[in-house]
Symmetry: C2
């Protein structure tokens, strides 16, 4: 995937992250695209909104896409490097590609995914990084809870 | 954790798995226990029942336990070796211990977890193994979908 196409797809994930911030939640957003480029599902972290610690952005987008027979050729776009939980999701279900908005504020499992055959594009997007940097500074308690560093 | 205590805790996970089978679902069950031994949450695979591919047994039990500040000292009990998705959950959130009912019919990430400091107890329970063996023989399509081998 070229970076221009990856950047376009990041827009929806970033919209989700910003919606999460407005709701008082953890501002991480994601979108799952099919092999044909169609949007299958979009989502955001819902720990605060739904009191659901299992709803990370990537799993929320994956859930929104509903049951799929195969994830071959799909792309998970996320504003932030996927944690081990979300990296495990990508590996287990054979999602082919991951577009990472940024990995400066948190470095998850994207290198591990690349080692296991997933195509990984890290965009190092300034808007994604600013969003997280400001959130982590404002709510370190909530952020640590969200990544299990309580 | 001694194996006798682990076996007692497996009972609830197995009840969940059997409930899932009766509902026409994937018969995997789980339970999350606190450091003090209290049951924090129990759950089962809900792919069929809720049309939710993100609801593996372990994530369902984790969700049922609600928001927790820390998972230090907790134990995830599951009837089946946890897939990469559920293994990632355990690693990310720092769940201290995993009790695996059986790993004969499916070998997930429990060795990886042990390498990363999680205490892993594999019980090789005949009832858990029989449940999965019969399910996989009866519904290979559904099983393959559930582990992303579509």
């Amino acid at each position: 995937m070229d970076r221009e196409q990856a950047r376009r797809r990041l827009g929806i994930a970033l919209d989700e992250a910003r919606a999460g911030l407005r709701e008082g939640g953890v501002p991480v957003g994601a979108a799952l695209y099919g092999a044909d480029g169609a949007l299958l599902g979009r989502g955001r972290n819902r720990r605060v909104q739904d009191g659901d610690p299992s709803a990370h952005a990537e799993t929320d987008a994956f859930r929104a896409a509903g049951r799929q027979r195969s994830y071959r050729g799909t792309t998970m776009v996320t504003t932030l490097s996927p944690c081990w939980y979300c990296s495990g999701l990508v590996r287990q279900f054979g999602i082919s590609r991951v577009v990472v908005g940024e990995a400066r504020t948190f470095r998850g499992g994207h290198d591990w995914l690349a080692e296991h055959g997933v195509e990984v594009v890290v965009l190092d997007d300034p808007a994604c990084a600013a969003l997280m940097r400001e959130f982590i500074a404002a709510r370190p308690d909530l952020w640590n809870e969200d990544i299990g560093h309580g």
